[in-house]
Symmetry: C2
Subunit: 612 residues, 2 copies
């Protein structure tokens, strides 16, 4: 016993060393039970592509055993090395590490606790960041640009770009077709280009950034700049905290140029069909040129990525009387902004982000605005969310403290979804306390507030259902002060000049805005491919948390996002700028591995429990 005690690690560094040495030793011996025994009884191993060719989390020793039995031999992990001095706090040792697999290089983070007299992994994150043989041309491996020497076959950069433009989609088929050219599609397009995967991003709007330009005038990002960087090209340090929509649009357009993302604007996908025998898609498109000329084209990519936006498929309620209503009515996504509505009576149906943004701008422009709250809403003040919710990882202070975007993303990714709400609840308790007066005023005005089913707040709502909240940038005061009228209930019907609620309340209206949210992204698959394929892949987004609008069973990861689906060669990509940046890496690596002809057996392909 004494010698055991003497040998036990006393520092975080020694503890981490010991654990990784034991882990690598067990893996090398292919001793799955021994490896699983190095995990705590309650534990989570999240793997982003490195072991599983999937985005997946397994739980406890049984889960670890299952993952390793399926993947250990072919993954052949080795070279685990602690990459910076581990931290220790509250009995948890946090260790960053790198490792290699049969096909590439990875990095990760472990949280170790003491259990049964030795260090045990409570959480383990493993991520692949590079495929051997497909290393990105960056830093010391950047392209030379000029080809020195003399060469009678030389093509200049612009000649090569021109040739590529002329041939892509005609003589050259893209290996990957990305439908949707917002931040998600563009970030993925940039990564695929870096990974030498022939890809094409298409979008129905003319120019990159038009996805943002076309939104209501007052729109600014609700997430702060530190959270929003795209891969490769961070915003300069004079970039606004909350970028206005047209500025982010200009950035995306420049980004496409600078990163040389193959991008077709003005391109509508008419129909896509998968041929399993040929292992390729047939995608019919119509491409509009700058002078309005239209060309019909058929592409045959091997993989199809729907990056059409988790907020891209408008949920428009179908209501009696919509055909007789004489005013204007549109979904929030089609709202042009407040110009021209001064003095008009506007009914905004909904009480989340878009509803508040639109109500605020309309009020500022002198409209007479009524908000229809249909169900309770979670509101947090932007400043409080920034400071308490994001500050540790994504803030000027975090940057000054040496936190990089990449590291922050990995910290974020390292927290298992199963217990993430436990980390979130105390943060929202702080916010509730800090802004108690604000919430009092809103409740006194009759606004129905919630904090998520379990009090875990905004980010969990985002992950679970992608809706149900407002990040307050000022418009909540309009409701609290009664400047924007608040009513409750469901809309029953429209008349020629009013919205009628279930209780018979009539709201005279010149304009009705349906700020009623968005449907699951597999709706895009129904439109572009078939209802059958949409049903086969099922609902997109959500964790299966069995909370409002996120039915169980537990999935452990976001449904269908950035990982293989039940439809071969069909992928979903999107989310906020953070997710578009970070998860585009893993999706791009999965696609690059397939392009490189590597074996990519998928562990733990998720079953489908919900169609939408």
């Amino acid at each position: 016993m004494t010698s055991t005690l003497d040998a036990s690690p006393t520092t975080a560094a020694a503890r981490a060393q010991e654990w990784f040495a034991a882990f690598e030793d067990a893996l090398r011996a292919r001793d799955v039970d021994r490896a699983a025994g190095l995990f705590a009884r309650t534990s989570f191993w999240r793997d982003l592509v490195a072991f599983s060719w999937n985005v997946t989390t397994v739980e406890d020793r049984d889960g670890v055993t299952d993952l390793l039995r399926a993947t250990l031999d072919r993954t052949d992990p080795s070279g685990f090395a602690v990459s910076e001095p581990p931290d220790e706090a509250d009995g948890v040792t946090t260790a960053w590490f790198t490792f290699a697999t049969a096909v590439g290089r990875g990095r990760g983070m472990a949280r170790l606790v003491e259990e049964d007299g030795g260090p045990r992994a409570w959480t383990l994150l493993t991520t692949l960041y590079e495929l051997t043989g497909r290393e990105e041309p960056r830093g010391p491996a950047r392209p030379k640009g000029a080809e020195h020497g003399v060469d009678r076959e030389r093509l200049t950069w612009s000649e090569r770009r021109e040739r590529e433009r002329a041939e892509l989609g005609r003589r050259e088929q893209p290996f990957v077709l990305v439908v949707g050219g917002g931040q998600g599609g563009i970030a993925l397009g940039a990564r695929l280009r870096q990974l030498q995967v022939p890809a094409l991003v298409v979008d129905r709007r003319a120019r990159p950034g038009d996805q943002w330009r076309s939104r209501y005038e007052s729109l600014c990002l609700h997430d702060p700049v530190w959270y929003d960087h795209l891969p490769y090209l961070p915003f300069p340090d004079n970039w606004p905290v909350f970028a206005p929509k047209d500025k982010i649009a200009d950035w995306l357009e420049s980004y496409v140029t600078v990163m040389e993302v193959p991008y077709w604007g003005g391109t509508e996908v008419r129909r896509a069909e998968y041929d399993p025998a040929a292992a390729e898609w047939t995608v019919d498109l119509v491409r509009s040129g700058p002078d309005g000329e239209r060309e019909e084209l058929t592409l045959r990519p091997r993989h199809l990525v729907l990056a059409t936006g988790m907020s891209g498929k408008p949920n428009v309620p179908v209501l009696p009387g919509q055909d007789v209503f004489r005013g204007e009515q549109h979904h929030s996504s089609a709202h042009p902004g407040p110009d021209g509505y001064a003095g008009k009576r506007v009914v905004v149906v909904g009480s989340n982000n878009s509803a508040f943004d639109i109500c605020g701008a309309l009020w500022e422009h002198g409209a007479d605005v009524t908000m229809v709250q249909r169900s309770s809403t979670h509101i947090v003040k932007s400043d409080s969310l920034m400071e308490i919710g994001l500050g540790a990882l994504y803030s000027e202070e975090a940057v000054a403290g040496g936190m990089t975007t990449e590291k922050a993303d990995l910290v974020f990714a390292s927290i298992p979804y199963r217990v993430m709400h436990e980390f979130q609840i105390p943060l929202y308790e702080q916010m509730r306390e800090r802004d108690a007066d604000f919430y009092d005023r809103l409740e006194k005005a009759g606004f129905r507030l919630d904090w998520g089913d379990d009090g875990s707040g905004l980010f969990m709502k985002y992950l679970r259902r992608g809706s149900g909240y407002y990040i307050d940038v000022g418009a909540a005061d309009l409701v609290a002060d009664g400047d924007v009228r608040l009513v409750h209930g469901q809309v029953d019907r429209l008349t020629e000049d009013a919205v009628v609620l279930g209780d018979g309340t009539e709201l005279p209206a010149d304009l009705v805005v349906y700020a009623t949210g968005y449907g699951s992204m597999n709706g895009w698959a129904a439109d572009l491919i078939s209802q059958e394929v949409a049903d086969r892949v099922g609902k997109v987004w959500g964790l299966g948390s069995d909370t409002t609008k996120d039915p169980g069973p537990w999935e452990g990861e976001q449904r269908n996002m950035w990982k293989p689906t039940q439809q071969e060669a069909l992928w979903f990509h999107g989310g906020n700028l953070h997710q578009s940046r970070h998860y585009s890496l893993y999706l791009a690596l999965q696609l690059a591995a397939r392009h490189a002809g590597r074996e990519t057996p998928v562990y733990g392909l998720a079953e489908v429990h919900h169609r939408r």
Copy 2:
């Protein structure tokens, strides 16, 4: 004596501490002699705007005395603090420091040597980087973007941009008009915007980057990426080492958008005149719109910056017979590239960078090419220049070693021009040795090589005369191998179908390219303002080194660049990307100080010794 020895500093840190304490003490006491006594007998103090409101170097204790007598009281320097652990090598202590002045904040670098029993400054660099009250909105001071709260007078970002576009040059006069929208004008425009100085950049070409797009096809930057970053927005790490011209053009265009540089393309300056009484310029312009509509405008800026390019004023020789020659003839700057010249006989007059680039591309495209060498040329191989000439400051290795662009620029700036050649000579000796075979082959082929008048090589040639060299990226081999024919001499005249040299040699030609360089930038002043003003400001560029094409007397700094000239409110800006980046800061600060109404008494305004 013993106590003196005991008290003498023994470490670099202590030595630097001692020196700065003594220096600050002398300055605070306004004891100029004591301060000057802290300099070595041979010493150089280079000041970028901080003390002198000029870009100036003074030498030895007399120079220091003169500078301080003129500037000390109003500069009121204080708070000198060593900002990182000093280095010591070969008896020289190198110390980085920060300080404050009456109007702003500065940083600098000192090289201390032991003389007369104590540390003495051998070189001192002082630079202003920030004006109090005009701090740039960056990092923690970045703009918020969204204006939270509700505000009926709110303008969105795009409305504000739109209003600014509509009013600038009409209802709002720019304080600064920058003529020339290449990298120089754009970098300055970005800095002025950050400094809240109303400015406008105009260029006769339609789009930012067209300055590069219009050049010959094969052109790539001859300087590597680490040397080429623009302010605020560094290239991403996948940027090519030597950016092709169209890629750098696209970058510049994106940069203008992202940095919100007020930029008018398609704008020709017709005439500019200064009214000393009103202290403003009258500038007549013609602006062409996207649909070819033309508008005549008169602007009234307070300051006029010519950023038309040190390689912007073509030197076209006037030769008998140019009117009878039946082929095509143009200056290298107008050369369209090699397409269409296959099988043609081309005579390229000149043997520097453009000549070699053009000869190489023409040969690759099957032209029959003759190079006319008129005088000796300095050639270094690109790889050797990168490794030996720039590697310590601007390379992947330097970046990996923690060297930032900003620090590298200051190191570069800290070496006094008077002795810079002494630092350069050994580097070029290394290159000559490393590539001895290459030089042998060139000389055997009859090519006349030089290494600068004093063997100090390329960079000194660039600073002294801006010409006389080729950074070899492959075309030198064509001359060495005889693929490109080499002849010597001056062109005497043209006939209908040939170029005739002074010795009577006839060179049959379908195309003559005059790769004959560029004239001094004050030629632009002659064109746009008047010959009188051009003569008053005199030659632009050069150090007065009394070497070929850089006549004395010694100036100490580059003539007329980035600093006040003999014409009030007229400035010159330009150079390579490094200079455009670094010196735009000091020019912008000088202009911002004037915009802010600060007193800016200029110390050491240079006299004019040469008209061009």
